[in-house]
């Protein structure tokens, strides 16, 4: 399983073009981050951007859509193409299918980007109706999702072919995690597909007069929370199955890693009402059931924490670490890929605690729709995911391009700057949320801001500025590497995809943990139980009486 397998030139360039779009989205998306953060201290740069960008909310829409939807989806589909091919040691079964999927995503991206740039889709990345966008914004987002589905089908077909060729062999963990990610994504996106296809597109084209905003929210959050796991699981693949190798160790438990992935497939979807605790149209009893189900998904997160930390501790001790915490400084922090992912993991620790708070039913009333929430998901998608993806890029780009990373030192500093900037930024946002500051609001111009918030608002700006510098250090380093003339010659760490062995070989993991049917049935059954009655109720009482407004 760990024998080297060299990807073909065309496979490498196919994955690379995914990354190119991802990094371009990140470059533009992060440009708008500090504009929000500075606005909080009353420094508004938006007037300088006219007439290209006409409002705070146009910028915020670009920030959310490009970073959280486009950067992630393109990076994930590219990275999982690699984990599929390299894990299974075989080419894609239908390379053309995956190409069609990819170009569908690109067409969708362009279609959604044009209305955003024309200020006709300043509805943020949650696009809550009846705020109305240009119809092509919805069509474009749909195509991005459909394209990602098609790429996922390509992975599944490839795996089925491999399975025929390799009966009885455990699916390699990196491939297994990728398949779970894409299958979960397929199920989860049915919600937003229903929202867009049955309501938003017909409405935006004028075929129906209005929408049902409450039903739209229920559809949206069917997808909205598992979307977080779509972002996280590829980072988990790296944390479980790659990072231990980079740290000089092995995966502590292959079987527990698989159980955690299965539990994410089982539990990611049937808990979306915890994003709707304050909604008027969902009964409190159902909200409570989803709160409990959300707690249950904390279990595989804790399994992940244990296994990843145990793997790292084992590696650190092998490198001579002594005592309770002495193994930590022994980890190869000078490797930017390692330090970025370790720091991402530390930030995610705080994100996880905040997530439990969000899930906690009535406690959620304190922080719902406040800056706390934005602070929270900057620790999840913008740290656990984004900083991990940066860390992965530090080996992936050199591998794919056959070029040496431009500067390892810059890369390590970049990771630390992200960590420091995010600690400052997210802490300030969490505090502001507890004090009652609304999220997604240009607080610099809000009339109800008490004086006591000003220190925290300033910290948000400082954190945002540091994050901006860090993001552009990353982009610069990757660009210099991408088009570098320093080709890697000969074998070595830089030409290798890091895949960790497990302490106990994967073949000793029970065969049942490679068996899809019961888990899929379980996942669908749980969704039917947790969502069925409310979907029947809300669809049965659909009321399309909100005509909406384009902001």
């Amino acid at each position: 399983m760990l024998t080297n397998y060299e990807l073909t030139k065309s496979e490498k360039s196919f994955i690379s073009v995914h990354l190119l779009f991802a990094f371009a989205a990140l470059a533009i998306g992060t440009f708008f981050g500090p504009l929000q953060a500075f606005e909080f201290s009353g420094v508004d740069f938006y007037p300088l951007l006219e007439p290209i960008i006409q409002s705070y909310y146009q910028g915020l829409t670009l920030h959310g859509v490009l970073n959280a939807l486009i950067f992630t989806t393109f990076f994930i589909t590219g990275f999982l193409t690699l984990t599929t091919i390299y894990g299974l040691k075989r080419p894609l079964k239908f390379p053309l299918l995956n190409r069609i999927g990819f170009w569908t995503m690109v067409v969708g991206l362009v279609m959604a980007a044009v209305p955003i740039l024309l200020n006709q889709a300043s509805v943020l990345y949650t696009f809550y109706p009846p705020l109305k966008a240009n119809a092509y914004f919805y069509v474009g987002l749909t195509l991005v999702v459909v394209g990602s589905w098609i790429e996922g089908w390509g992975f599944v077909f490839t795996w089925r072919e491999w399975r025929k060729e390799n009966p009885g062999i455990r699916t390699p963990l990196i491939t297994f995690g990728g398949l779970i990610t894409m299958v979960m994504w397929q199920i989860a996106t049915l919600g937003v597909a229903a929202e867009i296809l049955t309501m938003l597109i017909p409405w935006a084209f004028g075929w129906i007069d209005g929408v049902d905003p409450q039903l739209a929210r229920t559809y949206f959050w069917f997808t909205g929370h598992p979307l977080v796991y779509f972002w996280l699981l590829p980072a988990y693949i790296s944390w479980y199955a790659m990072l231990p190798k980079q740290a000089g160790g092995k995966l502590f438990s292959d079987s527990l890693a698989r159980i955690a992935f299965w539990l994410f497939l089982l539990l990611s979807v049937p808990l979306g009402f915890h994003h709707q605790f304050v909604d008027p149209g969902v009964p409190a009893g159902w909200k409570y059931i989803h709160a409990v189900l959300t707690y249950s998904v904390f279990f595989p997160s804790m399994l992940t924490a244990f296994t990843v930390i145990a793997s790292l501790e084992r590696a650190g001790r092998q490198r001579g670490g002594k005592g309770l915490l002495g193994w930590i400084p022994k980890l190869p922090w000078s490797n930017p890929s390692v330090s970025a992912q370790l720091l991402a993991g530390i930030l995610f620790f705080f994100g996880g605690i905040g997530g439990l708070t969000n899930a906690s039913y009535n406690i959620n009333l304190v922080i719902h729709n406040t800056a706390w929430v934005s602070g929270h998901f900057h620790l999840t998608v913008a740290s656990a995911t984004a900083l991990s993806f940066m860390g992965i890029s530090y080996w992936l780009v050199p591998y794919l391009r056959g070029r040496r990373l431009w500067s390892r030192k810059w890369a390590v500093i970049q990771a630390w700057l992200w960590f420091v900037g995010m600690m400052i930024f997210s802490n300030a946002m969490h505090v502001l949320g507890l004090l009652g500051a609304p999220r997604r609001t240009p607080l610099g111009e809000a009339p109800y801001i008490p004086e006591e918030w000003s220190g925290h608002l300033l910290r948000t700006s400082i954190g945002g500025a540091i994050l901006f510098v860090s993001a552009y250090m990353f982009i610069f380093n990757i660009a210099k590497t991408w088009w570098s003339k320093k080709l890697i010659v000969g074998p070595g760490e830089e030409t290798e995809i890091p895949v960790a062995e497990s302490v106990h070989p994967a073949q000793e993991t029970p065969a049942k943990l490679d068996w899809w049917t019961p888990w899929l049935i379980g996942a669908i059954a749980l969704i039917l139980v947790a969502y069925g009655p409310q979907l029947i109720e809300q669809i049965g009482n659909i009321d399309l009486s909100s005509p909406g407004v384009m902001p």
Binding site: M1, P130, L131, N166, G168, I169, D212, P213, Q214, R217, F252, S253, D254, S255, L256, Q276, F277, V278, D279, P280, G281, V282, A284, Y288, V292, Y295, F298, F299, M302, L303, F306, Y361, N362, I363, L365, V366, H368, N369, T370, G436, P438, R439, R440, T441, L443, A446, P447, Y448, V503, H504, E508, T509, P510, A511, D543, S545, S546, G548, V549, P551
Partner: protein, 170 residues
């Protein structure tokens, strides 16, 4: 992959480490404690989230003779209040309200255009305002003072200006 490992007679096991078992137990205990805490707070102490109140037509709810056509305070003989509020880009109507200290105020809030948020600072009142729905929560104001209620959901360009003030008098 060697031939031996294809052999189905390979001994399989979850290989659970004792520390790992204890970690799982600890996680389960934590979750049970958390769930018990929110359950008691919600169902015994009355810290509750909104639940469906009424479906309305956003285009007509503020017209005619329903309570939202004449939004504002309704005081009851026992000293409690109902407060009807209409949200519309970019203001709450009414946006200045005065109640007596110690009174229970039940908020009924709806929207005639897009989604809004309704959060009263320094209280547990926090609601999504969705066109076609009425959001309802009640709170007792034990401390005199002024409480801002702010729009916490993006509703358009002047969202940041949308707020009102509730004064609690002695």
């Amino acid at each position: 992959m060697s031939e031996e490992s294809r052999d189905d007679s390979v001994e399989t096991s979850l290989h659970l480490d004792p520390y790992e078992k204890n970690w799982m137990r600890l996680t389960l205990v934590l979750l049970v404690v958390f769930a018990a805490a929110v359950t008691i707070a919600g169902f015994a102490l009355g810290f509750q989230v909104p639940s469906p109140e009424e479906r309305v037509n956003p285009q007509t709810v503020a017209k005619g003779d329903g309570p939202f056509a004449d939004p504002g305070l309704r005081e009851y003989p026992n000293g409690s209040y109902d407060l009807y509020i209409v949200s519309q880009m970019f203001a709450f109507t009414p946006n200045e309200v005065t109640v007596k200290v110690g009174s229970e105020v039940t908020f009924y809030v709806t929207s005639v255009d897009v989604q809004h948020g309704f959060k009263i600072q320094n209280t547990n009142v926090n609601m999504q305002i969705v066109p076609g729905q009425v959001s309802k929560l009640a709170v007792v104001f034990d401390e005199p003072g002024t409480y801002d209620f702010i729009c916490t959901e993006y509703c358009g360009s002047a969202h940041a200006q949308m707020y009102g003030t509730l004064t609690v008098e002695k």
